[in-house]
Each structure stands twice: as C-alpha cells, then as structure tokens.
C-alpha cells in the first residue's frame, strides 16, 4: 500500500539534482529580497525538518505523538546554553549535541509507547510538551537568569565566519536540512525503516517475527526527537532569532502534526509539502484579505478561517485521500502521464 522504493530510480536522482541546483544556485541567484529568506524559506525548511522528525515517529513507526514542539524547545534551549557555557564549541557541534539532548527527552517520553498506543500515547506525549516548556520557563538557569522572557539568540559562527544576513542563514539551514533529510531517506529505506513500518502496520506480527518493539519504538522516538531538536535550534537561531518558551507551545505541535497528516503520512517529501502548505496558506489568506477585501476583514477572523480550513482539509483528506498531498501529487502526475514506467 505504502510506496517503498527499493533503490533510487533514475527519476529520483534527476529530481534530487534539480532540487539541489534550485536550492543552492537558482534561488540564491534570483531572489535578492531578504523577506523571502527570513519569512518564507527559512521557516519552511526548519518546520519541514521538524515535520520529517514527526513523520518518522508518526508516519513510519505509527506512534501517535503530539510533542514535537516540546522537543524543538529542548533543542533550541540546549543549543543556546551550549554556546553560552562552552567556549569555542562550534555551532555545528552545538547543533548536534542539542539534537542528542532532545533525543534523550524523546526516549524518556517515548517510554509509554511500549505499553500503549493511539490516543493513550498521544496524551502521554502531551506530558512532554507541557513539561519541557514548563521546565525551561521556570528554572532560570535554562534562560541564563534572564527576566525579560525573551533572549536574543547568539550569532551563528562556523569556522570563524559569522552568518548573519538572511541569505547566509539560508545556506546554513539548507545544508543542515539537506544532509539530515538524505539520512532520513536512507533510514526509512533501510532496516530501521522496515522495522518501523512493520511495527506500524501490525506490531504484534512484527514482534513475533523478531522485531524488538522496545528497540524499534524507542529508536523512532529518539531519532524523531533528534530531528525536532535540531529543527528547533535552527528555528530559534535563524528564524525567531530569539528564545522564548512560548514560541514552542502546543499550537506548534498541532501544526507540525497537521503538516505530516496533510502532506502525507509515511513519505518524507510529504513533510516538505505539508510544511509549505501550512506555512504558506495563512500568507495567501492574509494577502487575499488585504488586496481583495482591502483589510476590511479583521485579522482574527482570517486566522479563524485558516483554522476552519485546516480542520476541514484534515477531515476531507482522512475521508478521500488518507495518504495526503504527496499521494495526491503522485496521482495527478500519473493521470497526466508523467510516470509511465509505473
């Protein structure tokens, strides 16, 4: 049922090269307006990375989790503290370690998945969401005893060069996202991904075939939290440019879950499509509100409409296309006759 590619086809490699050329050459050469980088491309890539993490635990391992923003907060504040407290720690090192710290939280809050599933597990992961954000908020040490509530993120420095302009930050983000996405794609194709999917489709059968549920589930939670942690650190350092626990509230967790579901469960590119949709739809809606109705519609009403549309789409996709936009895109392509080989 789920599309699994045994090996990369030539089409995949061509797609990859096209995307790389687009991401590293065409976009930086054609777009000079900083707004595009700092308000669209950077948050999109960061959230897509978090969505890849959510995809691993929810789309591949089938564990319903609603704590992505909590792990992002853990990653973001870990990164802040590492850079603050360990002199000469390179940014990349801090990024990796903060991912690992988030992964530790992922294992801790993934433990209930060994006993329960579905809605039960979701409530258990809500604990991580509320607990992590509370912990960061209440223990001054995490915020370096800053009382204003908003901490400015440090500058990103890699090999002595500091990355401050939007396009520099874009490069940092896209390099990290590309590397981690490639790793994720390989993981889901390999034995780890097979185990996840086996557990997702029928955990009892998987167990009786010798797949260790303990290892598989916790591995999925850990890797997912690692991705969310790195994404959270990037999100805070390149997009928000500040650190505040409020930015990682439950709404963000819901958003990331929506990205994965609308984008398509069990596909990596679904995470990117979903993130783009969730991020761009409000922008488009605001644009319509401003140009067509000349701002006569209240901003709060627009955001309510946005909520209604997301919710309705979720229902519609569940009914008509549970595999989301990624599958929709595939079907459209094959209808037009792009994918004749299948």
């Amino acid at each position: 049922m789920k599309p699994v590619f045994m090996t990369f086809t030539r089409g995949d490699i061509i797609n990859f090269i096209v995307l790389m050329v687009l991401g590293f050459l065409i976009i930086p050469m054609t777009i000079t307006n900083g707004y595009w980088y700092s308000s669209i491309l950077i948050p999109w890539l960061c959230l897509a990375l978090a969505a890849v993490g959510q995809q691993i635990v929810m789309g591949y391992a089938g564990q319903l989790s609603l704590g992505a923003a909590g792990f992002m907060a853990a990653g973001a504040f870990a990164c802040f503290n590492l850079i603050l407290r360990i002199p000469d720690l390179p940014f990349v090192g801090a990024l990796i370690i903060s991912g690992l710290i988030a992964a530790a939280f992922g294992i801790l809050f993934g433990l209930p998945s060994l006993r329960v599933r579905g809605i039960y597990l979701m409530v258990a992961t809500l604990a991580s969401q509320f607990f992590i954000v509370w912990m960061i908020d209440k223990f001054g040490w995490f915020k370096n005893y800053d009382t204003s509530g908003i901490i400015t993120a440090q500058n990103i420095e890699i090999f002595g060069k500091s990355f401050t302009s939007p396009i520099d930050m874009y490069y940092v983000v896209i390099v990290v996202v590309v590397i981690l996405t490639l790793i994720a794609m390989n993981m889901v194709r390999g034995s780890a991904g097979r185990n996840w999917m086996a557990v997702r489709d029928m955990d009892i059968a998987a167990e009786s075939m010798g797949v260790s549920l303990l290892k598989t589930k916790l591995e999925a939670f850990a890797i997912s939290a690692f991705y969310c942690g790195v994404a959270g650190a990037l999100f805070a350092f390149t997009y928000l440019k500040s650190l505040e626990p409020v930015a990682f509230d439950i709404k963000l967790s819901f958003k990331i879950m929506f990205m994965v579901i609308l984008g398509g469960l069990g596909t990596i590119n679904g995470a990117f499509i979903g993130a783009a949709f969730i991020l761009l739809f409000p922008v488009v809606l605001n644009f319509i509100g401003n140009t067509v109705f000349h701002g006569s519609i209240d901003a709060t009403i627009i955001s309510s409409i946005e909520q209604v549309v997301f919710g309705a789409l979720m229902i519609i996709f569940m009914i008509y296309e549970p595999l989301g936009m990624a599958k929709l895109w595939e079907s459209i392509k094959s209808k037009i006759g792009f994918n004749k080989k299948k």
């Binding site: 809605i119 809500l126 607990f131 709060t300 909520q307 569940m318």
Partner: protein, 301 residues
Amino acid sequence: MISELLFFMEVLVAGLLSGTMYSLVALGFVLIYKASSTFNFAQGAMVFFAVLSFVGLMEFGIPFSVAFVLTIFLMIAVGLATERLVLRPLMNQSEDTLLMATIGLGFVLEGLAQAVWGVEVRRLDLGIKDSPIPWIADNLQLFISALDVTAGLVATTMIIGLTLLFKYTKIGLGLRSVADDAGAASSIGIPLKHIMLLVWSAAGVVALVAGMMWGARAGVQFALIDLALKALPVLIIGGFSSIPGAIIGGLLIGAVEKILEVYIGPYFGGGIEGWAPYVLAIFFLLYRPEGLFGEKIIRRV
C-alpha cells in the same frame, strides 16, 4: 496544627470540586466513546463552541432560557452534521484515522465559533458567585466557592441521570448494544441513526453545561480549550468507557493537581498544574493502561 489541617481540607475540597468540572468535560467524551467507539477529540472544542454560542446569543438580548434551548438545538445540529459528514464516511476506518478526523473537527468548530462570535474574552454571569459560601465559612472555617459547589452538584446530577439512562431504560440498552456491535445491533432493528443522534445531542448538552461552569469561572475564551484538554488525562485514569470513571478520574486529577500546586508549586515558581495531570496519566498508563474502570484492552492478532 488544626489550622494546617483545615487549610489542607480546603485545598482538597477546592481541588475535588474543580475536578468535577474536568469530569463534566470527560463525560462528553465517554458518552460518544460508549456509543460509537470513537474517540471524539473535538469534545473540548464543542465545549468552547457551545458556551461561546450561548453567550453570543445572550448578547443579542435573548433571555437565558431561550438562549439555552437554542444552543441545545445548535449542538444537536452540530452532532447531526458530524455524524453525517465525518463519522459515516469514515465508518470501519482505523481508530487512529477517526481520531485524526475528530482533531480536524475540533479545529473546524473552534475556528467557526471564533469567526462568528469574535475572539474577545466574555464574561458569563450565572448569578452564582465564585466566592466562599458564608455559612460554611462561619461554621466550619472552610472557604468553599459557591460556584464550585454548584458545579459539583450539577455534575453529580448529570452523572446519576446518565448512569440511570444507560442502565435502566430501553434507550440505554440500545445504546450499549450499538457500542458492542453496531452491525449486529442494526440488524435486529435498533435504530442506529436515532441512537447516534441521541448520543451526540447528549454530548452537546453536557458540553454546554461544562462550558457554562468553566465560563462562569474563567470567562468565555479560547483558553477553555486548554482546560478541556485536561479531560484527556482524566479519561486515561478513569477509563474511556466508564461514566463513574470519568467522575473519579476528574476528582483525582483535580485534587492531586491542587495539592501539588499549593504545597510543591511555590518551590518551582508554580505552574505545576499545567503538566501534573499528564504525568499522573503516564504513571497510570504504565500500571493500569485500561484505567480504573475501563474494560481490559484485548487485541487480537
């Protein structure tokens, strides 16, 4: 010593009574779960939707009782639409799919309510003060809010009523049979549609009452959704299909979170209430995943 004990009693009673409010929200979940084995994540949004519509109607100058009846009709309409547009097309889908669909439904209801009625915080005056009852304060030295007591009484009445309905009426029997096996129930002539309509209406009424209690305390505002989320740990502790479970789970969560907040909270700057119920739920999940009164979860291969 005596004053400490009294203070503890006061905290405990306040916790228990505010716990009944969680129970009220949880009750709506249980009703729908019992009848259709669907976990209705949108119940929290229904609470918000119901009470916001109620307050909105009252703002038009519609009297209390008429607004109450109109909102009940509105909730029945919401139930009907949900059954028709969401649940029926998803019949026989996996539990996770249904859950995600009801999360979507929750967002639709929240958004709709805010688009129609606006986002500002509204006050809801039920004519019951959220202040200590003088008689109890004078005689027992306990400060217990009148609103809490009312909420407790309302919740108890509703729970007794619903339990009786489930246990001793023909409708209740039909309901239980539908919950057990919808296909078999409809084949022996139990009107599935009527039962579903009834359950969703009942859940709507429960949502409205819960919303009114919460709204009278905290104002009618979006934060109600977060409060309603706390009904989830209540359900895990009480069991998804048990009405007494919902009340005991609610009481337990209410009491524990208040006690933790009052006695341990100050050491950490407060806010323990925000996560304590969920952590408590995790401990329950580890020891008793089916909840206190839930049916044992048996999965077939």
